[in-house]
C-alpha cells in the first residue's frame, strides 16, 4: 500500500486488518459508527467476519468468543457503549483474553473509564491514546501486539477528530516482534484428548482428581501476570522543549496535538515552556513526567474534561512540582464537534495566564 488520503475511521479499520484482525462486532454510535461501517464492508473481503450486534453487551461478547479461538478480534464503541461493556472487559482480563477495544470517545471525559476501568475486580487494561489519524494507525496495531503479548484487553482511546479527519496515511503491517503461539486457543481439536483446553475467567487449570476451580491459585497467578504487564509495557510519551522549561504543559490525544502547537508558538516567542504528551495513558509515563518537570516551576495539565489525567500527573510528581489544571469541558455539549476550548488562541491564553502567574521570562 502506498500513501493515500483516508478518513480516520477507515484508516484505523485498514490498520486493524493489516494487523491481522479478522473479527469485529459493534453497535452504531457516533462517532464510532464509521469504524463499524468499514469493518462490515472490509472484513468479509479478507475472509473475516463482522457482526452487527444487538447491543454493545453482545458486541463485546462476540469479540470475546472469537478471541478465545486465538483469532485477533476487536470491538468498539463510544464511552457510553464502553460503559455497557465493562463487565466483559473486566472478566476478559481475568480470562486472559487478548482483545482490542476502540473507544471513539466524545471529548476526553472517559479518561478514568479507560485507565481505571469501569468494571469489577482486580484488573488493569493498557490504554493507548493517539493524537491523530497517522498515529492511530500505528497504535491500533501496537494494541493487538500488546494484547497478544500480555493476554489482556487493550484499549485505543480515539475521538471524533480522529474518526473524521482526513489524512494521508501509508498503512503497512508493523512488526512488533514475536509473541508466544496461541496454543491455548479453542478449535475443538483437544476435546476428548484427555487434556481439553479451557478459557475461563474462573481459572485455567483442571483439577484432575477433584471438581471445581482453584481460585486462590488462579488469582495469585493472575495478579503476578498483571504486575509483570504493568512493569513490562513500554511507556510511550512525547516530550518537547522541557529541558529548560519553567512551565511544563501535559496534554494527551487530540488535545495534546493542539496544545503542542500552542506551546511551539509560545516557545518561538521566547517563553520557556515545554510539553509532555502521554501516549500510553496506562501504564502512565510517570518517569518521563517527573524528568520533564524536574526543573520546572509549575506543571499545567490541559484536558477536555473536568480534570482526570491531572490526578495521574500529581501521582507521578509526588508533590515535587506544583500542578494546576487548565483544561475544561467541551462547551459543545455533545462532544462531537469542535469545542470553543479547542482553539489555539484559547489554549495560548490559558498557558500564557499560567506563565504570567509564575513570572516566566519572555
Amino acid at each position: 500500500m502506498s500513501a493515500e488520503l483516508l478518513e480516520g475511521s477507515p484508516a484505523i479499520a485498514e490498520a486493524m486488518i493489516a494487523a491481522g484482525c479478522r473479527f469485529f462486532a459493534g453497535y452504531p454510535m457516533t462517532p464510532f459508527t464509521e469504524l463499524l461501517e468499514h469493518m462490515a464492508k472490509r472484513l468479509p473481503e479478507v475472509g473475516g467476519s463482522c457482526v452487527n450486534a444487538e447491543s454493545e453487551l453482545e458486541a463485546v461478547g462476540m469479540a470475546w468468543g472469537a478471541a478465545t479461538t486465538g483469532m485477533r478480534a476487536a470491538t468498539g464503541s463510544t464511552g457510553q457503549g464502553l460503559s455497557l461493556m465493562q463487565e466483559s472487559i473486566a472478566e476478559a482480563a481475568m480470562a486472559q483474553l487478548p482483545l482490542v477495544i476502540v473507544n471513539m470517545a466524545r471529548a476526553q471525559g472517559d479518561y478514568f473509564q479507560a485507565t481505571r476501568g469501569g468494571g469489577h475486580g482486580d484488573y488493569r487494561t493498557p490504554v493507548l491514546a493517539p493524537m491523530d489519524v497517522a498515529e492511530a494507525t500505528v497504535l491500533v496495531q501496537r494494541a493487538f501486539h500488546l494484547a497478544d503479548e500480555w493476554r489482556n484487553p487493550v484499549l485505543l482511546f480515539g475521538d471524533y477528530y480522529i474518526a473524521h479527519t482526513y489524512s494521508s496515511v501509508d498503512i503497512q503491517r508493523i512488526d512488533f516482534g514475536p509473541v508466544a503461539p496461541k496454543d491455548w486457543g479453542l478449535d475443538g481439536s483437544s476435546s476428548g484428548s484427555g487434556n481439553a483446553r479451557l478459557v475461563s475467567p474462573l481459572g485455567d487449570t483442571k483439577q484432575r482428581d477433584d471438581v471445581g476451580y482453584d481460585l486462590a491459585d488462579f488469582y495469585r497467578r493472575a495478579a503476578e501476570m498483571t504486575s509483570a504487564m504493568v512493569d513490562g509495557i513500554e511507556r510511550l510519551v512525547e516530550v518537547v522543549d522541557c529541558d529548560d522549561a519553567d512551565l511544563v504543559v501535559v496534554a494527551f490525544g487530540t488535545a495534546g496535538k493542539y496544545v503542542r502547537y500552542a506551546v511551539a508558538q509560545l516557545r518561538a516567542e521566547g517563553h520557556r515552556v515545554g510539553i509532555v504528551r502521554p501516549i500510553s495513558l496506562f501504564p502512565f509515563p510517570d518517569q518521563a513526567v517527573r524528568d520533564a518537570a524536574a526543573g520546572a516551576r509549575l506543571v499545567a495539565v490541559y484536558e477536555n474534561n473536568q480534570g482526570q489525567m491531572v490526578d495521574d500527573v500529581r501521582l507521578a510528581l509526588e508533590g515535587a512540582v506544583p500542578t494546576r489544571f487548565i483544561g475544561g469541558l467541551s462547551l459543545d455539549t455533545s462532544g462531537f464537534g469542535i469545542a470553543p476550548d479547542f482553539d489555539v488562541d484559547v489554549l495560548r491564553r490559558r498557558i500564557q495566564g499560567v506563565l504570567d502567574d509564575i513570572g516566566g521570562a519572555a
Partner: protein, 274 residues
C-alpha cells in the same frame, strides 16, 4: 461369601482406574459407561439435581454424532458452571447471560467447530434473553441448551422468568402471582416463531422415557447445526428439589405436575418435518 466392598473409581494421570485401596485383589474395570468428554465424573451438585443427567445427555449425543474433536462448549453461570472445568471438552466460560454471543464469536471464527451453550433459565431467560433471541434470529449455527428448573438454584431458590404460577420461591413466599410477579416466559415457543431457527424442542430428565426423548432432541439439534440448517435449541426441564423446597424423591413428579404443566414437553419446531 466375602464381605461386600465399595469400589471407587479415581482418575490417575488422565486414566480412570479402580482405587487400589478399595479394590479387592485381582479386580479390574471391565466397562466404563462414562462419556469420553467427561474428565472427572464427580460433581458437587445436590442429590436429585437434574443437571448432571442433562449434561451427560449432551456429551453422549456429541460422542454419538462423532464430532468430539470439533466440540466446544460455552457455559453460562449457574450450578452447572461446576461442569465447565471437569469436562474433557473444550470450554469457554462466559459471563452470566452472555453465552450465545460468545458462541457466536467462536463459530464465526471457527466455522468447522460444533458449538453449544449450557445455560440455566436464570442465565438465559432473565439475564441474557436478548442474546438467545438475536442468536436465533441470526440463524447462528450453534446449539443452545437451556437447563430449565424454574428457579435460581445457585442462589438458593429464587423466582426466575420461567417460574410457574403458584410456585413458592424465597422471594415469592406465597407462590408466584401473575398480577404481582408477572407470568412465566415460554422461551421455546418464542424462539420457534423466528426465521433462522431450525429446531426447537422441550424435554425433561425426570424419568427414563423423558431422558431418552431428551437424547433424541439433542441429537436432532446437533444434527441441525452440523448440517448447516440453522439455529437449534433444546430446553431441558431439570429437577431442583433444593430450590423447590421439596423432598428429593418427590422432585420428578413435581416436575411433571408443575414445571411441565406450563412448559409443555415436545418438539416445538423442526424445519426437517415442517
Amino acid at each position: 461369601m466375602s464381605e461386600p466392598v465399595e469400589l471407587r473409581i479415581q482418575t490417575v494421570e488422565g486414566q480412570r482406574v479402580l482405587a487400589t485401596d478399595t479394590a479387592p485383589a485381582g479386580a479390574r474395570l471391565v466397562d466404563d459407561f462414562t462419556p469420553s468428554l467427561i474428565d472427572v465424573g464427580a460433581h458437587h451438585l445436590c442429590p436429585g439435581c437434574g443437571e448432571p443427567i442433562a449434561m451427560r445427555s449432551v456429551l453422549e449425543t456429541i460422542e454419538e454424532l462423532g464430532v468430539i474433536r470439533r466440540a466446544i462448549g460455552v457455559f453460562g453461570i449457574g450450578c452447572y458452571t461446576a461442569f465447565s472445568n471437569n469436562l474433557d471438552c473444550e470450554v469457554a466460560q462466559a459471563l452470566h447471560g452472555r453465552a450465545p454471543s460468545v458462541a457466536t464469536g467462536i463459530k464465526r471464527a471457527k466455522p468447522d467447530t460444533v458449538v453449544f451453550t449450557i445455560q440455566g433459565d436464570g442465565d438465559m431467560v432473565n439475564e441474557g434473553l436478548q442474546e438467545v433471541i438475536h442468536a436465533a434470529a441470526r440463524g447462528e449455527r450453534i446449539t443452545c441448551v437451556m437447563l430449565n428448573n424454574g428457579v435460581f438454584g445457585e442462589t438458593g431458590g429464587h423466582i426466575t422468568a420461567t417460574t410457574v404460577l403458584g410456585q413458592r420461591t424465597k422471594n415469592t413466599l406465597d407462590g408466584r402471582d401473575g398480577r404481582e410477579h408477572g407470568y412465566p416466559i415460554r422461551l421455546s415457543n418464542m424462539l420457534a416463531d423466528l426465521d433462522g431457527v431450525a429446531f426447537v424442542g422441550r424435554c425433561a430428565v425426570n424419568n427414563a422415557g423423558n431422558v431418552a426423548r431428551t437424547r433424541k432432541m439433542l441429537q436432532r439439534a446437533f444434527e441441525a447445526q452440523v448440517n448447516d440448517e440453522g439455529f437449534s435449541f433444546v430446553e431441558i426441564l431439570t429437577m431442583c428439589p433444593t430450590g423447590w423446597f421439596i423432598d428429593t424423591q418427590d422432585a420428578p413428579d413435581y416436575l411433571t405436575d408443575n414445571l411441565a404443566a406450563t412448559h409443555t414437553l415436545g418438539v416445538v419446531k423442526d424445519v426437517a418435518t415442517a
